[in-house]
Amino acid sequence: MATINVNGQEIEVDEEGYLVDLSQWTPEIGEAMAKMDDCELTDAHWEVINFLREYYDEYQIAPAVRVLTKAIGKKLGKDKGNSKYLYELFPYGPAKQACKYAGLPKPTGCV
């Protein structure tokens, strides 16, 4: 099983770099994962990550892209409530990349 080192602690991740034990998540782990992808997390990224975590707490699944864009649009203004904005933040796809940093499982299926 693969691990990543965060502040001297070995954290278990799966073959695609997603957390194995979701309860282990800390913001530092999110930062460390992003760094491995050469991605610097800004406040804009954290808005998305925090929303994902809140949604996951309630529904045990990541939100649909449309639900996410609407929520971000409400919070940050309409010009940011679209998937183009989210792809600028998370070029590998908002659902998959942002979920990884947020410590959520990878969405499966035809997505």
């Binding site: 499966t108 035809c110 997505v111």
Partner: protein
């Protein structure tokens, strides 16, 4: 991300020079014990896997006559060699359909034919070794089961069926693929491939209702688990989650609303896709199909309609009745099941939908035939209906439509590159390279006709194109849902769009304008 070079787009599809083993490294992640066991397979590779694999092959040969005929009848004519998109995109010799079949055929000959048992070298028969098993795992996960090669085979040998059998044999000895098997487990326990539980589904649909009412002024409903509804809508769960899929779902709801029929989605059957087919497992395919039957009975519906999902339509159209029938409790006046495109096209023909094509004037469209719809099913009551009906809908909703070259559409369509259980990030190199023929054909209509968008009726195709289009310097949002076009064009009765078109302005607006 794996390092690889995206092929260069040329003006036409070129047959590459054969290379040995250039894709031998391509292997999807192996399944985990928990997924294997849930599907009724051993958790890991069993000790006597060779013996068990041959036993399973014998079992399949006994069950499926076609499987034996396909293994026996190849005459090595070569007609299939340049027909596979994965061969065209990768140039790997083993991605020629005949070579892919031979991976299994050479083992079949060794254990099940007289010549192979006694004179193996003369007939190219080999023992099943770990090297052979590894090759199977690699190359039977480089076949999207699209069946294009079988169209050109003079014997009609179906490589898809051989690759399904190979995957079933591998699963039965404990060597499964993570992507497919995790998804099948989720669909069998939660109800859909995404693992979307009922509360999340309800919340997403409520959100959509709000959005559509904001856009149109009409309270279009997206009902869930509504007993007594006339129609059960079964659609891929990607329609609830991803883009542009969700715009298609919005379109279905608007069509049902305008038709004035009651309909419902089901949280139990919240998935049209049936990955049991991809791994060649009758038992797992049946379990998934039975959820649809149970939901239809519990909700008391009279009709079942399927949304935009390619292989789901193959399972529904070709196998649903034998897998989960009889459906004698449904209204016999309608096809069992019906495709949403058939439903919408009927309404358009009867003049029951008002469509404003100008709403799609910002797009110039082409249509990608999805392989399972094109080559493994039909729509409507005439041969070729599966090609005509989606195009008819597009032409009824858009002013600018152009087909891609004829040898790349209809039953000769090229796979998107991500079908058959290969739509996973660990196979991204294969997916990008396998999309080359379709991307080349698309470029032709972009250059000749200024095409801006490509429509499709399959969740896998839509997700695959969203991902691979940018590798070929096209925009990811170039791919659209067919019912997204319907959704854009439809003028709902009492909607804001209707008022705008008919010039009946709101009194308040007129007053406001007058004071400006």
């Amino acid at each position: 991300m794996a390092d690889f070079e995206t092929p260069k787009l040329k003006d036409y599809i070129e047959i590459p020079k054969v290379q040995e083993g250039v894709m031998a490294h391509s292997r999807p992640f192996e399944s985990k014990e928990q997924f294997q066991v849930a599907l009724g397979y051993p958790g890991e590779l069993v000790d006597n896997w060779e013996e068990k694999a041959i036993e399973k092959m014998g079992d399949l040969l006994g069950k499926y006559r076609s499987f034996r005929v396909f293994l026996d009848s190849c005459v090595k004519c070569g007609a299939c060699t340049d027909k596979c998109h994965y061969y065209l995109g990768t140039s790997d010799a083993k991605n020629m359909p005949v070579a892919r079949q031979d991976l299994l055929r050479k083992v079949y000959r060794r254990y099940f034919t007289f010549a192979g048992k006694y004179f193996p070298k003369l007939v190219g028969a080999v023992d099943l070794t770990k090297e052979v098993l590894d090759e199977w795992y690699s190359y039977f996960h480089q076949c999207s089961q699209c069946r294009r090669c079988s169209v050109f085979c003079p014997y009609g040998i179906d490589t898809a069926e051989i690759s399904m059998a190979a995957r079933e044999i591998m699963d039965s000895v404990g060597l499964g693929q993570k992507y497919c098997n995790e998804i099948i487990m989720k669909a069998q326990t939660i109800g859909n491939n995404l693992g979307l539980p009922e509360p999340a589904l309800a919340d997403t649909l409520a959100d959509l209702e709000e959005e559509v009412e904001d856009d149109t002024g009409v309270p279009v409903k997206y009902p869930l688990d509504q007993k007594g509804a006339e129609i059960l809508m079964v659609t891929p769960s990607a329609d609830f989650f991803a883009e542009p899929h969700i715009d298609g779902l919005i379109g279905y709801g608007k069509v049902f609303h305008e038709a004035g029929v009651s309909w419902t989605l089901s949280s139990k059957a919240s998935e049209a896709a049936n990955f049991g087919m991809f791994i060649g497992s009758y038992e797992n395919m049946r379990k998934l199909a039975l959820r649809i039957r149970e939901a239809a009975l519990e909700l008391g519906v009279k009709r079942i309609v399927f949304g935009e999902c390619g292989h789901a339509w193959r399972v529904a159209y070709s196998f649903l009745n034998t897998l989960a029938g009889p459906f004698d409790f449904l209204d016999p006046r309608y096809p069992v099941p019906q495709h949403i495109c058939e439903f919408t096209w009927e309404l358009i023909k009867e003049g029951k939908l008002r469509l404003n094509k100008e709403e799609n004037d910002h797009m110039r469209l082409t249509f990608h035939d999805s392989c399972n719809v094109a080559r493994a099913s039909r729509m409507g009551d005439k041969p070729g209906g599966q090609f005509e009906i989606p195009r008819n809908i597009i032409k009824a909703t858009c002013n600018h439509y152009f087909d891609m070259p004829i040898d790349t559409i209809h039953d000769a369509t090229y796979c998107c590159g991500g079908g058959g259980g290969l739509l996973t990030d660990d196979l991204i190199e294969l997916r990008v390279k396998g999309a080359l023929p379709r991307m080349t054909a698309l470029k032709q209509v972009v250059d000749e006709h200024g095409v801006t968008n490509m429509a499709a009726i399959c969740a896998i195709c839509k997700s695959q194109f969203t991902k691979v289009l940018p590798y070929y310097d096209f925009g990811m949002d170039m791919i659209v849902s067919v019912h997204q076009l319907v959704s854009n064009a439809i003028v709902l009765k009492g909607s804001i769009q209707e008022k705008e078109l008919d010039g009946v302005e709101d009194e308040e607006e007129t007053a406001a304008e007058a004071t400006e």
